[in-house]
Symmetry: C2
C-alpha cells in the first residue's frame, strides 16, 4: 500500500458538461457523473479512488457547481463538508483551481496541491502514483510541476508539452523542465511529435505549493488573484461566505489555468514536467469513448448501458443505451448511437467532434430542454 503524502492535497475540478458526449452528458448529468468505462463507478468516483491512497480521504477537495452538490456528495460519501467548494456559476479552470488553492493555503500555508480533472480515464495506478509522488517532490523544490502523458499514438486531439533539460530533484528521477506548450497539432506535426519522445500530452494535471500557484496568478492575473483572496478570506466564515461568493465570483475572469499559470510559468523556467507512463484519455468525444471501451479493436460494437437490449448484425462503433428499448443495428460501420429517454443521436466516429455543434444548434433553435 502507498502511504499518503504529508501535506499533499488533491483538488478535483468537476465542472465541464462534456458537450461532445451529448445526449449522454448534459447539464444535469455531466460527464464526470457517468460510468464510461463499465467499471460500475462514475469517472468522479474513479478519480477519488485513484487519489485517496496518495492523500487519504480527508485531503481531497472537489470544486463543482451548486447544482451538482448533491450528486457529488452521493458519489463521494467520504468527502468532508469543508472539502466541497461550490461555484455559483462556471468561471473556467483558473478560478476553480485558484479558489481551492486560496482556501487551502489560508488553512495551511505550506500545503502542496495537485489538480486532477474529474472526468478523465487513467489505467495503471502504480505508475500514476509514482508520477504524482515525483511531481510532489518537484513542487516541494518550488516548481509548478505538470504530469505529461507519454503519447501512445500521434493524436491531434490533445495539446502537447515539450520536455526540456533534465531537472535534478531528489525523489524525482524523471523530472525535466518544460520547453514550451503546443496547441493541438495537425496530423503531420503530431506524427513528428510521436517519433520525438520529448513531446508529451497535456493532461491538465498541475502540482505545486499553493503559495507558488497563487504567486504566479498574482503576477499574471492580479484582479483574478485579488478576487480569489477575498473569497478565501471569507470562506470558512459560514455567515460571510454566501454574500461574498454571490458578489465576487461572477466578476472573476474566465481563463484556463494553462494560460493564467502554466504557460507564463514555463516562460519563466518555473514549470517542470514528469512523464506519465500510464494509460490516459480525456474521453473527449464518442470516437475516443469507442476506442476506450473496445480497447482499440476496430471491428467491435462497444455497448454502454446495463439494460441495453441490442440486436447487432455486422455493426461496429458504439451504442449507448439509457432506455429499455430494443435497438437493432444492421450493417452500420463506425456508427455512434446514443439512445436516451428524450433525445437520440446518430452519427459516426468520424464526425464525433461535430456533436458540440449539435448542442449549439439545439440551444439556438429553442430545444434546450434536452441539453
Amino acid at each position: 500500500m502507498t502511504e499518503p503524502i504529508d501535506d499533499f492535497y488533491a483538488v478535483i475540478p468537476a465542472g465541464g458538461i462534456g458537450s461532445r458526449l451529448w445526449p449522454l452528458s448534459r447539464a444535469d448529468a455531466p460527464k464526470f457523473l457517468h460510468d464510461l468505462t463499465g467499471s460500475g463507478n462514475s469517472l468522479l468516483r474513479d478519480t477519488w479512488d485513484r487519489l485517496e491512497s496518495l492523500t487519504g480521504p480527508d485531503r481531497i477537495s472537489v470544486v463543482t457547481g451548486r447544482a451538482h452538490r448533491a450528486a457529488v456528495e452521493a458519489e463521494l460519501p467520504g468527502i468532508a463538508d469543508a472539502n466541497v467548494f461550490l461555484e455559483s456559476e462556471p468561471r473556467d479552470s483558473a478560478a476553480a483551481i485558484g479558489l481551492a488553492a486560496a482556501i487551502l493555503h489560508r488553512r495551511d500555508p505550506d500545503v502542496i496541491i495537485g489538480s486532477f480533472a474529474a472526468d478523465h480515464v487513467i489505467r495503471g495506478t502504480r505508475t500514476f502514483e509514482f508520477a504524482v509522488q515525483q511531481a510532489v517532490e518537484v513542487a516541494r523544490a518550488g516548481y509548478i510541476c505538470t504530469i505529461g502523458i507519454q503519447p501512445s499514438e500521434p493524436s491531434v486531439g490533445f495539446g502537447y508539452i515539450q520536455k526540456g533539460d533534465e531537472l535534478i530533484v531528489d525523489g524525482a528521477p524523471e523530472a525535466a523542465t518544460v520547453e514550451r506548450f503546443v496547441e493541438k497539432p495537425d496530423l503531420e506535426t503530431a506524427k513528428q511529435y510521436y517519433s520525438d519522445r520529448s513531446f508529451l500530452w497535456n493532461a491538465g494535471m498541475f502540482i505545486s505549493k499553493a503559495s507558488v500557484l497563487l504567486d504566479e496568478l498574482a503576477a499574471n492575473e492580479p484582479e483574478l488573484h485579488a478576487g480569489l483572496m477575498e473569497l478565501a478570506e471569507a470562506w470558512d466564515d459560514r455567515e460571510r461566505r454566501g454574500p461574498v461568493v454571490d458578489r465576487v465570483w461572477p466578476t472573476l475572469k474566465k481563463i484556463a489555468i494553462d494560460y493564467a499559470v502554466a504557460e507564463p510559468a514555463a516562460d519563466k523556467g518555473r514549470l517542470a514536467v514528469i512523464p506519465g507512463h500510464f494509460d490516459w484519455d480525456d474521453v473527449g468525444d464518442f470516437a475516443s469513448l469507442t476506442k476506450l471501451i473496445n480497447n482499440g479493436r476496430k471491428n467491435d460494437l462497444a455497448v454502454l448501458g446495463p439494460k441495453a437490449r441490442v440486436l447487432s448484425d455486422a455493426a461496429t462503433g458504439i451504442l449507448v443505451s439509457q432506455t429499455s428499448r430494443v435497438i437493432s443495428l444492421v450493417g452500420v460501420k463506425d456508427i455512434v448511437v446514443v439512445d436516451t429517454p428524450d433525445a437520440l443521436l446518430v452519427t459516426t466516429t468520424e464526425h464525433a467532434q461535430r456533436v458540440k455543434g449539435v448542442v449549439e444548434s439545439l440551444k439556438l433553435t429553442g430545444r434546450g430542454d434536452v441539453l
Copy 2:
C-alpha cells in the same frame, strides 16, 4: 368524373405485416395501416379512394385478419359490413382472393372482380383507371387479366411479366397475351428487361370474372377450391359462418395467387396483360420508402412522422419518428433510422433488405414483444 363500372367488384387483400419495414410495421400495426406517403391517409385508405370511382363505395371488399377488423373499419367508414371478409389466420393470397371470389360469385354469378394490394403506392389516378377499365373489358372477354407496370428503372426487387402478342378486345387497345412470368432477376437481366419494353413489373393485380378465377383454381388446386366453395356456401348465414371458418380455413393450402392461378393460366393462354403507365411501388423496404419520399433525390433526408423534432447536419436517407424525442443525425449518409416507443432500428438503405432477418432473430431470441 369516372363512372363506376357495372358488375365490377374490387377485392383488397389486407394481410401482410411488412416485416422489412419493422419496427414501423408490426403485427398490430401492419404496413397497410400506415401513412407512408405523407398524404395524411393510410395506404389502405388511399387504395380505397383510388378504387371507389371505379366501383362505387358498395362494391369494394377487404379480406383481412380478425385482429385488424376494427382498424380497417376505422380507416374505411364507408365499407359495408358484408364486404369485410375476416380470416381467422393468414393463409396466403390464393386463399384470401379465392375466398372473396367464391363469396362474391355466390352473391352474383356474373361478377367481375379485381384484386389490388392494400399496401402499394400508386400515383396517376387517371392512367390507373384507364388500365383497370381496359382490364375489365379483357376480363369480360373471358381472360384473367393482370396489370403489369411499365418499369421506370432496371429493378431487381420485383418479378416480371413478359408481354406476348397483341390481343384484340374492344375497349382495351393495349391488351396483350402473357408470354411468361419471371422471378426477381439479377441486375444484368433486369437491365436487359428494362431496355426491352415487353417486360413489365408484376404488381399482383388480377382482374377476371369470379367464375373464371374459380375454374382456374379448381383445375390447379382442387382441394383449396373445394374448401373455398364450402366457406362461401355458409358465409352469408350468420350462424353457420363462424363454425365453418374455424373448421375449414386453417386447413387451406398456403399458396400465392401467382402460382395457384396466374402462372398456370398463362401456360394455357388464358392470361392477358394491360401495361400500366402510372407510378407504382410496393414500398417493400426502407430503401424504396426513402426513394418514394425523396422523389428519387439522393441527397435529401426523408422524414416521416408529423411530430418529428429533427436536427440534421449533412445527413441523407430516411428518418421515421413515432416519438417526441429530439433526434440528431450528424454526417450519416444513406442512413435509415426508425424511432418508435419500444424499438429503434439503425441501418442503411443498402442493408434495408436485411431488416426481415432482424424480425426473425427477435422472434428466435424471445423479444417478440416488439414485433
